[in-house]
Amino acid sequence: MIDHILTLLIAIPLLGALAIAAWPDNRAQNFRMIALVTMILEFLAAVTMYAVFDHSQSGFQLSEAVDWITLPIGSLGVVSIDYALAIDGISFPLILLAVLVLFVGLISSWNIEKRTRGYFSLYLLLSGSVIGCFLAQDFFLFYLFFEFMLLPMYFLIGLWGGPRREYAALKFFIYTFFGSLLILIVMIALYLSAIDPVETARAVGVLGLEDIATKDIIIQLQQWLVEGKIAPEQLVHTFRFAYLADAGNYIPGSILSIVSDFYILDIPVRLLAFWFLFVGFAVKLPVVPVHTWLPDAHVEAPTPISVVLAGILLKIGGYGFIRIVDGFFPVEAEYSTVPLAVLGMISIVYGGFNALGQSDLKKMIAYSSVSHMGFVLLGIAAFTAEGINGAIYQMVSHGVLSAMLFLLAGVVYDRTHDRKIENYRGLIHMMPKYTVLTGIAFFASLGLPGFSGFVGELFTLMGAFQSENMPVWIPALSTLGIVLAAAYFLWTYQRMFFGSFWYKNDNSSHSTTHVLTDLTTRETALLVPLALLALLLGILPGLVFDITGPTVAAWIEGLK
């Protein structure tokens, strides 16, 4: 069991999805219970993984690898796709976050009444794909999960969403699909350009089928590769992350070879590939200017889907930046520090200004996500230990806080089907508990020390200042983001919660004010642990940094 814990993490939700799809009767309660049991099992699997994970180690752990597809295709060499899973300090906190957010999302899905069979099985399908994205160690496998995520998401927004759900779902789909396409192109180019040294050694015959490759053999093989001594038929192409991240595995003269002299429009192909990948993941993160799908998707998505979308889907963009974009193109990433950081800065400031201008509560939160994820990009662009650690931390922190924020927005929407900020005033008189928890979430999100948001912003900014390639004005201007965050959160808080109670109803079906009741037990039970978690992470950031630290240090060392 322990050996296959990662497979289990993917398999549990997928099996749950199947079970729901195949369940004989049609009672909603059954689907809910199956989904709940599935997520509890998933949670237990995550806890087991936490117990087994060695915090001090920097490399990959709990690896599983099986050859999936191996096909010789003549002069193009050999196709090799592996089913490879592993975790390290970079993906581990994000997997824990994913399980947490998906669990929270499921509980908040409890009052979904429409087409429950489809909803819960799609939700579990989405869960399995998200977890798979973080676990995959083979680009092909990663891409598969990455695409799998898109479809359930499209339907979850498009069928269970608000009034303009079809528009939002389609926008989401087109944007992310466009991003995926760019990733696919680079993936194929990478595949054509790099080899699996172990399998190639076996194909060449210097390594027996059962033998374990030593370092010497691999170095020897890479030497032969550089000298062109290996016949093309014998080259085993690969999608494995580990091999793609090693410059020695690139075939000389191939399109993405390290010393490539291919140019398209006078731009080196490797740089172009870097930017393709970047844009692909930038759509997910999202980075201004490819962010406009996010506010629409959030506004139309049902509350649990907003929670999952902001809480974990965006993080796949950040994870992709670290693992794939920076991992395979470190030279280009370092070369592009300034434009990347400027994009991060623009996201921070521009997102903040837009959040200030919103009158829809969910849109305001969505733009605040854009702003907060800008810090992730800034930290990654810095390419320093502080920056990358800070970026991962910021993702975890934002996952917890944005889940909380969207749950809170859902609370008021559930009661009135109205999210206009200016239609509410003095909610504190009707909903005191709700007011306190919203206050905590807002202050935590605007970076009050003691909560996780502060630590994330502090260390991404610190990383940016430490970066040798980044001029000081970029992080200095980015601090404007924390001013704006205070402005839009507090302004919203003032308008909705304080003063004398007043509520304007745009929605004739809910005419009375007595619907504005305080938090239910289920809502409190979801929100309070999240608030405590944000507090815990803010006071003891070491909980995350102890996991990410050694891996990030070794990873940066390896790339430079």
Partner: protein, 651 residues
């Protein structure tokens, strides 16, 4: 005592108020009756601890590892030294008095437990600032002070204006804090630490230009908290909070945090940075003093006066003498808190017994002649006002003169232009004497104007209120700080904070006294005029009917115009460019799709070819399934999932 022994006071000083905060806050309204006394008790314990562990001239530090990130460990450091020792006593003492005062002042409030909880939260954060041993730790508590100030200004959340003022204060402070954070991060980059000890050793390794930039960034924090131009707009509005809060936070302690910060980092302020700081301080001082001469709200006068005095302290730091600034901070803390509490007593006295919307109990035009009805309050106010105005034999005179003296000495070294600074201080001291005389006259002398409301029956406050006022006025007398009423340098305070050779110019006290007396005379003459202080004029209303976001933030154009412009621009970009582009692409694709589908129907699908084509392509696809091309595998998988989903969603 060894450093490790200081772990105990640190944990007690921070732990006690924090525990009190949690208990009061979560304890509910049942604690309304006892929270005030319990809070005062906790603060008294804190005061005892601060005095017991006070050990001047010796530095004790307590450090904890917080986390290790990248290349360096980050520590949480606390430090005990002379500065923190004085601040601890001042903060605890004023807080103790203010809490006792509040018990009576706010006794009718329903949320008293929350009020005292927030006061304790404020104390926790303020003590954190005072004890912090590194700039990072200070920043953390700095923000928490901002939070507690927000909660206390907006304590009366059912009224729109206090909440608005709270938010304005927080956001304007945040602007300064962003600069403060930038300075901290630059120090992390250039030195690798923000610990005061490390900084004082390695400060020379940074080039002066960068050091100036860092110093000015850090000064940004001071500009926010200590209400320096151009971030000063929040302080007068913060008067929307309960009056004891104004006394504690917006007069004595929190606003002094900026000065405390400057005193802590004075060694890394370069000459250029100091010059900028002195100029900002001067502008603030003059603006505050001028505004204070014309407003009618009793608390706003004091708020502008606080702003002006803070400008004076900032200027003193800029002129190179953080010690005199710190001295003035201490004396100011007592007499300004005393003034606010006295003002509270006045407001308390003239508040109508029944609600009267037409009558503003804070408007000085509705007061007058109160000295008979409120004798104790009058005496306290008079003493504290004399200290503020800088009359001889009061504490304010000593500290203000010390700063003026430093100003003249500095100008002597700098050159003729430098004399602007001390001369402006003198003039602004004259303004101070003028507006305090004006206030004193408007409130306590002249005819009784409060009869416009029939429900106003002025009465003296109970002892629990005037007790703290009396204590604070007693502390505004010179004897506590120096035996020589004309020379601060000969007192214990200056030598306590490490001034070995105090400077003294014997003509400064005389000149300062003359300026003050002339101003008081001018104000007195004005009070005898036909329409004293233009008291009969159109009443300005402070209430703002609309809550337009930008207008709320600042009354000043320099702030508004660029901000509004950017926000508008961003909105436009979002709407007209990015989304419009996407729309264009989307619509373009749809048009293209229609064109293609038309051609598909009419050309491709035409006639018999359809059947042949279909069969052939079907065969092709089945064959392709097995051809080993990755793309096809992917396509098959995705199609499979798609079919599964379609089946699911049609349920």
């Amino acid at each position: 005592m060894p450093d490790a022994a200081y772990l105990l006071p640190v944990s007690l000083l921070l732990g006690l108020p924090f525990a009190a905060f949690l208990i009061f806050w979560l304890g509910g309204k049942g604690l309304n009756k006892i929270a005030g006394y319990a809070g005062a008790l906790v603060t008294a314990a804190g005061l005892g601890i601060s005095i017991f562990f006070a050990e001047p001239d010796v530095l004790h530090t307590v450090r904890f590892d917080w986390l290790v990130i990248g290349s360096f460990p980050i520590e949480i450091a606390f430090r005990f030294d002379t500065l923190s020792c004085i601040m601890l006593v001042v903060v605890h003492f004023v807080a103790l008095l203010v809490q006792l005062y509040s018990v009576s002042y706010l006794h009718h409030d329903r949320n008293l437990n929350r009020y005292f909880a927030f006061i304790q939260l404020f104390l926790f954060s303020m003590i954190g600032i005072v004890l912090s041993g590194s700039l990072l730790v200070m920043y953390i508590f700095w923000e928490l002070v901002g939070l507690s100030s927000y909660l206390l200004i907006g304590f009366w959340y059912h009224k729109p204006r206090p909440v608005w003022a709270a938010q304005k204060a927080f956001v304007l402070n945040r602007i300064g804090d962003a600069a403060f954070l930038t300075g901290i991060l630059m120090l992390f980059y250039y030195i690798g630490s923000t610990d005061f000890e490390v900084l004082s050793i390695s400060v020379d390794s940074i080039s002066p230009g960068i050091l100036t930039a860092i110093g000015l960034c850090l000064f940004g924090g001071c500009m926010g908290k200590s209400a320096q131009f151009p971030l000063s707009g929040w302080l007068p509005d913060a008067m929307e909070g309960p009056t004891p809060v104004s006394a504690l936070i917006h007069a004595a302690t929190m606003v002094a945090a900026g000065i405390f910060l400057l005193a802590r980092i004075s060694f890394l302020l370069t000459f250029d940075a100091r010059l900028v700081i002195a100029m900002i301080g001067m502008i603030t001082m003059v603006i505050g003093a001028i505004k204070a001469t014309s407003v009618w709200d009793i608390k706003r006068v004091l708020a502008y006066s606080t702003m002006s005095q803070l400008g004076l302290m900032v200027m003193a730091v800029g002129l190179g003498s953080w010690q005199t600034a710190f001295f003035h901070l201490t004396t100011h803390a007592f007499f300004k808190a005393g003034l606010f509490l006295s003002a509270g007593s006045v407001i308390h006295a003239v508040t109508p017994s029944e609600a009267d919307d037409q009558f503003d109990p804070q408007d000085m035009r509705n007061m007058g002649g109160l000295r008979k009805a409120l004798p104790v309050t009058f005496i306290c106010f008079l003493i504290c006002a004399s200290a503020l105005a800088g009359l001889p034999f009061f504490s304010g005179f000593l500290s203000k003169d010390a700063i003026i003296t430093e100003g003249f000495l500095w100008a002597g070294k700098y050159g003729a232009v430098g004399y602007i600074f001390p001369v402006v201080i003198m003039l602004s001291a004259g303004l101070t004497a003028y507006y305090m005389t004006r206030q004193l006259w408007l409130v306590f002398f002249g005819e009784k104007r409060y009869h416009i409301s029939h429900h106003v029956h002025p009465h003296e406050s109970p002892a629990i209120m005037f007790g703290p006022m009396l204590l604070l006025s007693a502390l505004s007398i010179f004897t506590w700080f120096s035996w020589n009423p004309f020379d601060a340098g000969s007192g214990w305070f200056m030598s306590f904070i490490g001034v070995i050779e105090p400077s003294h110019l014997s003509w400064v006290p005389i000149a300062a006294t003359v300026v003050t007396l002339v101003s008081i005379f001018l104000a007195y003459r004005e009070s005898k005029a036909g329409n004293p202080f233009h008291i009969v004029s159109e009443k300005q209303t402070w209430a703002k009917p609309s809550f337009s976001f930008l207008l709320d933030y600042s009354n000043e154009k320099y702030f508004l115009v660029p901000f509004a412009f950017i926000a508008e621009l961003c909105k436009k970009i979002e709407k007209r460019s990015i989304d419009a582009f996407v729309e264009f692409v989307a619509k373009g694709s749809v048009v293209l799709a229609h064109v293609l589908s038309w051609s598909d129907r009419n050309i491709v699908d035409g006639g018999v070819k359809l059947t042949v084509f279909s069969i052939r392509s079907a065969g092709q696809s089945v064959r392709n399934l097995q051809n080993g091309k990755i793309q096809s595998y992917l396509l098959v998988t995705i199609t499979g999932v798609l079919l599964l989903i379609l089946w699911l969603v049609t349920f």
